[in-house]
Symmetry: C3
Subunit: 204 residues, 3 copies
């Protein structure tokens, strides 16, 4: 189940990447790069930090093709997409959570400390979007948006916590997933967010 959701997730993320590139008037190639990085960049950063070689997508070229196709498809249908905004946010939420769970699993399998496992989950979940925003020269929205990264953190904590208490893996994935999705959807539809830290006094 997680791997089906993973495919949906990288597709959705690739599409958000392509749209961000489109807003910057990038050429087709730029669109592809941003789509790729948004979808597979998080996992790449995780694998590099954990020393988890070879990196996942180098062993699954079909993911690369899926992501590039999604980017191309987005370019073709972008003009019709504003009708799909909400569906899109839901797909993106699925992706965030699936990425997080997969990231935790990789770090767990490699025997890392729980702190690192949680961070691996979060990195996988959000680094793709951060890369997208850096390449499009804007302050990453994930740092300013409604609960996004926090959902990733919550999912990682649940997954790890339930695992500690001996909850069966499949049940664990399902429950963590449902919880994360609920919170994320509430954040979207009700505007839940973290307090913002505004600091005006220059210090240096």
């Amino acid at each position: 189940m997680l791997s089906t959701i993973y495919l949906i997730a990288i597709t959705a993320e690739a599409m958000t990447g392509a749209l961000a590139a489109g807003r910057r008037n990038m050429d087709l190639f730029g669109v592809m790069v941003i789509a790729f990085l948004t979808a597979l960049g998080g996992g790449t950063v995780r694998d590099i930090i954990l020393g988890h070689y070879p990196i996942a997508w180098t062993q699954h070229p079909e993911y690369v093709w899926l992501v590039l196709s999604a980017g191309l498809f987005t370019v073709l249908v972008a003009r019709f997409m504003h009708h799909l905004g909400r569906i899109f946010l839901v797909l993106d939420a699925l992706g965030l959570i699936a990425f997080t769970l997969i990231g935790c699993e990789v770090a767990l399998t490699m025997g890392y400390h729980p702190t690192v496992v949680i961070m691996a989950g979060m990195i996988t979940g959000i680094a793709g979007g951060v890369l997208r925003d850096i390449l499009c020269s804007r302050v990453p929205v994930v740092f300013r948006h409604e609960l996004y990264a926090s959902v990733s953190l919550l999912v990682a904590l649940c997954y790890l916590g339930f695992g500690e208490f001996g909850v069966k893996h499949d049940v664990n994935v399902l429950v963590s997933f449902a919880l994360g999705l609920t919170v994320r959807l509430c954040a979207i539809y009700r505007g839940w967010r973290l307090p913002v830290f505004s600091y005006r006094q220059p210090i240096d």
Copy 2:
């Protein structure tokens, strides 16, 4: 031959990096960092992604010195450089293509899938310029310019394709090189470019 061109290439790329840093009023140190990243950053990113350790330049400190000298030289002669604009673009094109071929070779030697080989070539070819542009806080020109990344892709495809059909390695390098250079020069002098994807409708 490829290694001679490689030396010319990293020199040229270091100079473009130094100029970009100069436009941002960086100090000497900043100029050196940008020169280094522009010239050797692409190979570094490739080595990290492929897990190809130790990273190339750590075993060839002379490359580091060459690149830093090129950066320093650029600072000294920058005021005379606008006469050299065109020569510069040609050197840069040589670099792009040499980097791409070298990147493909590294990935091939490590036994990666053709998709990854092509990506390794492109990463080596263009990541240095992308890093330069990110550090200078602008949307990477490679995503908006005339055929640049596309030339890298074309070269990688040719090199891999000819290799599949059993073309001798030296001939292969030569032909791929010539083809890439031709297309790149046409792009420069005739303004060939990819269609741009402009997307105005905000979605989130």
Copy 3:
């Protein structure tokens, strides 16, 4: 001694990161990420480039917690911090130098060439601040500031040079540290800086 200073250093760096994030109105999560990257990002980049796995902080989760606590603490006391500006710059200078020495040591232990050792020291010293500035969408101050990176270079050169001449390790660390701190404090209080390279002529 170096490891005590290291703890002070990552704390101070985490606080500068949190303040930078606050100036961009990031939410709590963004503040944590920037604090983490500023404090531990330099060492992470060094470990990745040298192929030094597992990465330091994955084996010391307590560093992660220290850094996150420092970030949170900064958010709480930020309004009182402009009285502390100068103390802060001194802590930051301690950090810069401690990071540089630790980076050199790691590369030396792995048997890298002196050029690489110096670069490893500088990367550890300054990459965290560069990451912070990129994520906050500004040209990294390290490239435009008074002697900052140059201090890192100086410390690395001294440490390596004294080591070559057989100076005892502890003495070496102490002397390099004192020298670096002196120059850095002079740079802060007397405004020492490198010449800036301004280049206005567009070339492409």
